[in-house]
């Protein structure tokens, strides 16, 4: 049997995550995060809350995100959250979560469905007002929402006034990256 030596590529297709520094902003591709969606099964809220507390998985309110020691999470839709964990330790994130939640929740691996960009710097609202109808300036730190940028359904998480995370569809990673860099260059 021949030995295949496969080279892992990031969503943008390189060996290493891309970092763009544009004026005051840094756009960083993040390939070091594992994702899984967690959907409540009917009538099992109590079980899921107990399991989440024991496993250290935060379950933020609607429109919010929250961070824990290992896991962080953001709200996607009623009774559904996306759970984030470090890829190095949680590459098989579903296998980590499944024993904790059992049949109280449906857990789906999402890592390779998304591309993540972290945007850092002051005045990010100037950039996002060109990309999305979400009012980043008014949103509190920790806000998380789904929005549309460049015709792509994306999740936007405002970690702080100077740090925003975007999750977009991985198959459109380059289009989203293009939109972010063009918007940044146009408001420099």
């Amino acid at each position: 049997m021949p030995d295949f030596i496969l080279k892992p590529l990031t969503a943008l297709g390189h060996d290493h995550p891309e970092v763009d520094i544009l004026g005051p902003w840094t756009i960083t591709e993040r390939a070091d995060i594992a994702l899984a969606s967690l959907a409540l099964r009917r009538g099992r809220l109590g079980d899921v809350q107990t399991a989440a507390a024991a496993a250290g998985v935060p379950l933020p309110q609607a429109g919010a995100s929250a961070s824990g020691a290992v896991y962080s999470a953001f709200w996607m839709t009623p009774e559904m959250w996306m759970v984030e964990a470090p890829y190095a330790s949680h590459e098989d994130i579903r296998a980590h979560l499944l024993p904790a939640f059992g049949d109280a929740a449906s857990i789906t691996e999402q890592t390779d469905a998304w591309v993540r960009f972290d945007l850092a710097g002051a005045g990010l609202e100037r950039l996002f007002e060109r990309l999305s109808n979400f009012d980043l300036a008014k949103a509190p730190a920790g806000a998380a929402t789904r929005t549309v940028m460049e015709h792509l359904g994306c999740y936007l998480i405002k970690r702080s006034d100077t740090l925003v995370t975007i999750y977009g569809p991985r198959s459109s990673a380059q289009s989203l990256h293009h939109a972010l860099t063009v918007a940044a260059q146009s408001v420099l």
């Binding site: 609607a62 429109g63 839709t77 009623p78 109808n133 929402t145 789904r146 929005t147 549309v148």
Partner: protein, 94 residues
């Protein structure tokens, strides 16, 4: 037009997709309903000048289905509910 989403607060109507009359929730029972009932359900719609209950989908947001009561004359939005809650209140969901 702003739709006051019951969970997410005021959102631009552009984020939503319109489906139509909320009476679509009340599908007749396929085993017992008559052909006339299904015909009415499939083809016949009221077209009121005034308050109208309709289904909207938050496509660019959390992808929830809403029942929006809208005045078709003034476009004033009178009430917004989660379609899930409306359906369950009507006994549609087990």
């Amino acid at each position: 037009m702003i739709i006051h989403h019951p969970i997410l607060g005021p959102r631009d109507a552009q984020e939503f997709v319109y489906l139509g009359d909320a009476s679509l929730i009340g599908r007749p029972d396929g085993l017992t309903a008559s052909i006339e009932e299904f015909h009415n359900y499939t083809y016949l719609r009221d077209n009121p000048a005034g308050a109208h209950r309709e289904l909207w989908y938050h496509e660019q947001g959390d992808r929830s289905w809403l029942v929006v009561t809208r005045n078709t004359v003034t476009h004033e939005i009178l009430q917004v509910e989660l379609a899930r809650d409306v359906a369950r209140a009507e006994g549609r969901s087990k």
